[in-house]
């Protein structure tokens, strides 16, 4: 067996897919945790962040203080604290060989899709309206994308989603031909390109 074939076989193995999901969900949880602590500290003493510090790397705390950071009246990061442990549980269970019923995986896909949309809305707002870059928020954008990609990979492969039957075969063969990996790579590179073109000078100058 060639190396390429071995890599592809690994990529399609449950261990790899759910391992990636587990790892990404842990990153999301970590970032949510850091952002939640920041939010609590900020709420307790708004004065702490009310200056531009010499060590300010990316911006003067403007992301945490924008209305977008508390869309539902509490810090967005709390949502991550609630949702990511569920993803971690699912990933661990699947690694252990548990097969969830179809409706469960469908529901997971639906809810996680909402989460991804929310993460990208925040990314868009931070980039083009708040005008500040927050490394932990970016980490969430990336890890959320990876969890979404792995979940979609599994659900398309196992035919869990209620899709029209004429879509199923092409999608399944696209997954088998690794096109999903190409799409996700392009997607992440576009994110990097956006960040570098918008914030390159302050990151590297």
């Amino acid at each position: 067996m060639t190396t390429l074939a071995r890599i592809r076989r690994l990529r399609h193995s449950d261990a790899w897919i759910f391992g990636t999901m587990l790892f990404s969900a842990c990153l999301s949880l970590l970032a949510s945790f850091v952002l939640s602590i920041d939010a609590v500290v900020l709420a307790a003493d708004p004065g702490t962040a009310l200056s531009c510090d010499i060590n300010t790397v990316i911006s003067c705390g403007t992301v945490a203080q924008s209305w977008q950071a508390q869309l539902f009246g509490f810090p967005n990061a709390f949502l991550g604290l609630v949702a990511e442990p569920v993803v971690i549980t699912v990933a661990v269970a699947c690694l252990g060989g548990v097969r969830f019923p179809r409706w469960f995986m469908c529901a997971a896909q639906a809810v996680y899709t909402l989460g991804v949309l929310f993460a990208y809305w925040l990314f868009y707002e931070a980039m083009f309206h708040i005008g500040a870059l927050c490394p932990w928020c970016l980490l969430i954008t990336v890890s959320t994308t990876l969890v979404f990609a792995t979940l979609t990979h599994v659900n398309l492969r196992d035919g869990n989603l209620p899709l029209p039957s004429r879509w199923r075969a092409p999608l399944k063969s696209a997954i088998a031909a690794d096109l999903d990996a190409v799409v996700v790579t392009i997607w992440l590179l576009v994110l990097v390109l956006l960040v570098v073109s918008r914030y390159g000078t302050q990151l590297f100058a």
Binding site: R9, C52, G131, A176, L179, I186, Q202, A205
Partner: protein, 243 residues
């Protein structure tokens, strides 16, 4: 073991999978993206470098790198460390500028402005903090009566963090609005005091200032509320009473 069988390994290991036209197109896009990212990184890291001009201190500047405004005999000295890109300095200015103007006018306080440039990295390579601080230093040198007025219009029209900042043309317009004579406005974009600004910036941080806005009253850091009118005025007046 049923689930192993269900996954259809033969499809994945099939010999035809691998290089189809879609896959090749995808790989081309990936290579193009990586090249574009590399290009942006190189451009970003090279773009910020500008040759440092000679060190020219504005007339009357203090040894610590400040622009003094007001009577030398005033009992209280209020030092203001600011960066024209810092949103909190904008808030400080909005709350306190009228009060500060009054304290300077009635001879209670002498203001020492420290315009810093450490937030240059938030103006997409245009070095807005330096350009704005240099404009203020140039006005302090050539038309000292207009410094506070220019300081105020710059904050009234403060650009957003991570924008390109105000253009030199816009700074010139605002300076004219603030009553700076045309002859001085014409040299604002010459960067005469840019090197001095950088030196003052470094001196401020070396002296223990950690961010902006920082206010010192007679050399003591002011720890009170910076963002509502009143408390700072009260602190200055009480310091004047102690003299």
């Amino acid at each position: 073991m049923g689930r192993q069988a269900r996954k259809g390994r033969p499809v994945i290991a099939g010999p035809s999978a691998g290089l189809n036209p879609v896959m090749i197109g995808g790989l081309v896009v990936i290579v193009a993206l990586v090249a574009a990212i590399g290009f942006m990184v190189v451009r970003a890291s090279g773009g910020g470098s500008t040759a440092a001009g000679p060190l020219v201190a504005p007339n009357g500047a203090t040894a610590s790198g400040a622009l003094p405004i007001g009577r030398e005999s005033a009992p209280v000295t209020v030092e203001i460390y600011l960066d024209y890109m810092c949103p909190y300095c904008g808030r400080f200015e909005k709350a306190n500028s009228a009060e500060i103007d009054k304290l300077v006018a009635d001879g209670t306080a002498r203001v020492e402005l420290h315009p810093l440039n450490f937030l240059d990295r938030f103006s997409q390579g245009t070095r807005y903090s330096t350009r704005a601080a240099n404009a203020v230093a140039t006005v302090a040198d050539k038309a000292p009566g207009q410094v506070l007025a220019l300081n105020r219009v710059l904050f009234d029209n403060q650009p957003e963090e991570n924008s390109t900042g105000l253009t030199d043309t816009r700074i010139a317009e605002l300076a004219l609005q603030a009553g700076v004579p045309q002859a001085v406005v014409d040299v604002l974009d010459d960067g005469i005091h840019s090197t001095w600004v950088t030196q003052s910036n470094d001196a401020a941080f070396a002296s223990g200032v950690t961010g902006t806005p920082t206010i010192k009253i007679n050399g003591q850091k002011y720890e009170g509320d910076l963002y509502t009118a009143g408390p700072l005025t009260a602190a200055v007046t009480s310091a004047a009473g102690e003299q």
